[in-house]
Structures are given as structure tokens and as C-alpha cells.
């Protein structure tokens, strides 16, 4: 590896969050952005082809060294690290609305989901996944929400453009068939009337 690639490896290893190419460039005043990108590629190849258990991942507009998936279960079982807490159904639905409609106000979120959203908005804000990005011009100047870079980090996305386009989803005029039912909670819901 070149000295620059080694320097970037040290920086990425020490950082607790994804680091942008611009931030990495400040490590070496001699290096151009293109040099940094080339060195990152070299580091990535080094990890990929020399049998390393970590990899360079592009996340939330930056780069981060993460362990490979193959080791997740073992690490978790040994309680050496903790998984990122799972998002609840309400949180996921709310994030779905915000990520596609941002900046978006509470009323619109509630209208789409058909339930009040005050509690889940507060929780998402506390977890740093959404933030207030402004105020609407509408009556009462309601707050408008948008997603944060921690949102991208939590979902393993490089940027918002990585989200599928809305028309890529197959919302048919037919009710979804059981195999399309996404989660276990739907199965639980389905069992309810059977008991009555």
C-alpha cells in the first residue's frame, strides 16, 4: 500500500463515523481529491483481496471501515458489540414518508399514515434520524422534517438517491397477496380475527 493509503487506513480506523473524502484530504496537504479516491480504492482492494475481515464501506457521503457480515452473529453473540437498535413499524413508516416527501410537516405524515405521529416524531428526533429543517408557509407555520446523515448511516445508504424511486415499487390496484406481506407483525395481525 502507498503511504497515503496507509494514512487513510489509520484515519478511517480511528474515526467513529463515516469520513468524507474532503475530510480525508486534509490529512495530507499534498494529496488531491483524486489521489485520496485512488488511495481509498487501493485500501478497499487490499481488504477485499488479501482476506481481511473488515471492508471499506461508502456510507452517508463518507467512508467507514466495517466488519464483514460473515462475522456479525459471532460478534453479537460474544457481546463484543451491539447491533444498531431495530426500528419499530411506526418509525419505519414515518421514515418512509419523510424520506420521500421531505421537507414534510406532521399533518401530511399523519394524513398518509392515518394515525397521530407526535410520539414517533419525537423518538426519531431523539435518535437523530430526523431533524427540523424549516417551517411551512402554511397556517400556523408548522415545523418541517427531513432525514439526517445518521439516517443514511443507520440504513447503510450512501445518499438519498440510493433510495428506490417511488414508481419502482409495485403498488398494484390489487390487494397485496400474502407472500408480499412484509413482516411478522402482519402475520400476527392476520391471526387476530381467527381467534374471535
Amino acid at each position: 500500500m502507498t503511504p497515503l493509503a496507509q494514512l487513510l487506513e489509520a484515519a478511517l480506523f480511528s474515526a467513529a463515523r463515516p469520513v468524507t473524502v474532503e475530510e480525508l484530504q486534509t490529512l495530507d496537504p499534498e494529496a488531491s481529491l483524486a489521489d485520496v479516491r485512488a488511495a481509498l480504492e487501493q485500501l478497499r482492494e487490499h481488504y477485499d483481496f488479501d482476506g481481511h475481515s473488515v471492508e471499506v464501506v461508502e456510507l452517508a457521503g463518507g467512508y467507514q471501515i466495517l466488519t464483514r457480515r460473515a462475522f456479525a452473529a459471532a460478534i453479537e453473540q460474544a457481546q463484543l458489540s451491539v447491533r444498531i437498535p431495530k426500528l419499530t413499524g411506526a418509525a419505519l413508516e414515518t421514515l418512509a414518508v419523510i424520506s420521500y416527501r421531505q421537507p414534510v410537516g406532521r399533518a401530511e405524515i399523519e394524513d398518509i399514515r392515518g394515525v397521530s405521529a407526535g410520539g414517533v416524531l419525537r423518538t426519531l428526533q431523539e435518535r437523530g434520524l430526523i431533524e427540523v429543517v424549516g417551517r411551512s408557509e402554511a397556517m400556523g407555520r408548522p415545523l418541517l422534517y427531513g432525514t439526517t446523515s445518521l439516517f443514511l448511516e443507520t440504513l447503510g445508504l450512501r445518499d438519498l438517491a440510493e433510495l428506490p424511486r417511488a414508481d419502482e415499487f409495485t403498488v398494484a390496484l390489487q390487494p397485496p397477496r400474502p407472500p408480499m406481506a412484509a413482516e411478522g407483525e402482519e402475520d400476527a395481525a392476520a391471526s387476530v380475527p381467527a381467534e374471535s
Binding site: 457480515r69 444498531i84 399514515r113 392515518g114 397485496p176 374471535s196
Partner: protein, 249 residues
């Protein structure tokens, strides 16, 4: 939105109390989609009367009939039911299917559900990788119970009390009165000369404190009979003397 963890069967009991089962469904739209799926109904041609009745019976069974979100949807469905039951003149111009708005909302919600499911898979995938030194968000611990012995308590009280600033109402400033010094000075002067004047007794320093010190010293000495104070004539300067005044000739 939070919900009780009790199984649905408890809500089905005869208890008319406030039993809410919000866990089963993510909201009224979710429940509605569930009913359509159960009945294998085409979303574009919903038999409103039947679905409205089913919706009402399910929310009643689950104790959701007191949750505002579900009640609002129930009201909406009943209004739609009434609209569809009303006879309408055929080929009426500008007639719009009253179910249209509901279908739009259901489709939109379904899209959101699919996006949410995509996000869930993405976060699941991301959670399979660990960054170096990932710190889980600290759990919200309740404050520790207060464990303290008497000594610590007293020390704490002392510390608090010592930090309370007492408001200054009146401060007594010690005046530099030096009666003793003035007494010595006067005695020394009278040792040299038998008789001195007030200004001699006062000395070089003539501040208010010096005047008072000298005056007090003189009065004290006069009281003890060490010196004699007198005037040779009315309004004449005061004479300070070791000896008693000679009677005027």
C-alpha cells in the same frame, strides 16, 4: 403510539372499560388493508357497506373503538356507506365515485408500507456490520437511590450553608480612633511644657479621627484629674495644663 401488551383475547371479554389493542394494527389504514386482503377484495371496487360493518365490528372487538384514529376512519366509512346506499340518477354528469378518495389513500399508504419494508431490510443489512467502537445509545437509567451517611450529610449541609451569602444590612467599620496614642502624646507634651494649647495637643495629624481621639483623651485625663482644662477668659482658647489654673489676678 403505545399499546398494552395484553393478548387480544382480553379485549374480547365483556369488559367495557378502556382496553386498547393498538399493537395488532399500525393504524386504521392497515386494518382496512388487512380486511380487504382477508376478503380478497379488489381495492378498486370496495364493497363499502360490507367493509364498513366489518371495520366497526373489528375495532369494537379489539377495543379500538375508543381510539381517535380508528373512530375517525369509522366515521369516514359510515359516511361513504350512506353515500353509496343513496339512489343516484344514472348517467349523472360529474358524478365521482365517493370511494375514490379512500382508494387513493389506501394506495398511498400501501406504497409507504412497501417503502418502510425496504427501509427495514436496508437497516437490517446495515446492522450486520459493525464499525469500530460502536457505542450503543445509553439506556435511560433512573437516578440512583440516595445512599448517604450522617457525616456526609452534615458535610454537605455545611458546604451548602457556607456558600449561602448573607445579605449585608449594615457593616460596622472600625474607626481608627487612637485614644491611647493621644493620651501619651498629651502627657509627653505636658512633661516638657507645663501648659499647651488645643492645637498642640492635637498634633500634626488633623483628621476627624485624630480630633476625636485627642478630645476623648483630654476628657479622660481631665476626669482623672491628670490635666486641667480651662479658659483664661470667655471665648479665649482652651488651655491644657498640668497644674490647676492660677486664680485670675
Amino acid at each position: 403510539m403505545t399499546a398494552s401488551a395484553a393478548p387480544p383475547t382480553t379485549a374480547l371479554g365483556a369488559e367495557p372499560g378502556f382496553v386498547v389493542q393498538l399493537d395488532a394494527f399500525a393504524g386504521p389504514l392497515d386494518l382496512l388493508l388487512h380486511l380487504l386482503r382477508e376478503e380478497e377484495i379488489d381495492i378498486a371496487d370496495i364493497p363499502i357497506a360490507r367493509i364498513a360493518d366489518q371495520f366497526l365490528s373489528v375495532i369494537h372487538e379489539l377495543g379500538l373503538n375508543q381510539a381517535a384514529d380508528y373512530l375517525e376512519m369509522a366515521g369516514r366509512l359510515l359516511r361513504l356507506k350512506a353515500q353509496t346506499l343513496l339512489p343516484r340518477r344514472s348517467e349523472e354528469e360529474g358524478w365521482e365515485d365517493p370511494r375514490h378518495e379512500l382508494v387513493r389513500r389506501l394506495l398511498e399508504y400501501q406504497l409507504i408500507r412497501e417503502i418502510a419494508s425496504w427501509l427495514d431490510k436496508a437497516s437490517e443489512r446495515r446492522a450486520g456490520q459493525f464499525s469500530r467502537g460502536y457505542l450503543p445509545p445509553p439506556p435511560e437509567l433512573p437516578p440512583q437511590p440516595l445512599a448517604i451517611d450522617l457525616l456526609q450529610l452534615l458535610l454537605a449541609v455545611e458546604k451548602v450553608v457556607s456558600e449561602i451569602s448573607v445579605p449585608v444590612l449594615h457593616r460596622v467599620v472600625p474607626r481608627p480612633l487612637d485614644v491611647e496614642g493621644a493620651t501619651k502624646r498629651i502627657e509627653a507634651l505636658l512633661e516638657e511644657r507645663g501648659e499647651i494649647g488645643w492645637l498642640d495637643a492635637l498634633g500634626a495629624e488633623r483628621g476627624i479621627a485624630d480630633v476625636l481621639s485627642t478630645l476623648l483623651a483630654l476628657l479622660e485625663l481631665a476626669k482623672r484629674g491628670t490635666v486641667h482644662l480651662f479658659q483664661r477668659a470667655a471665648f479665649a482658647p482652651m488651655v491644657i495644663s498640668r497644674d490647676a489654673p492660677r486664680p485670675a489676678a
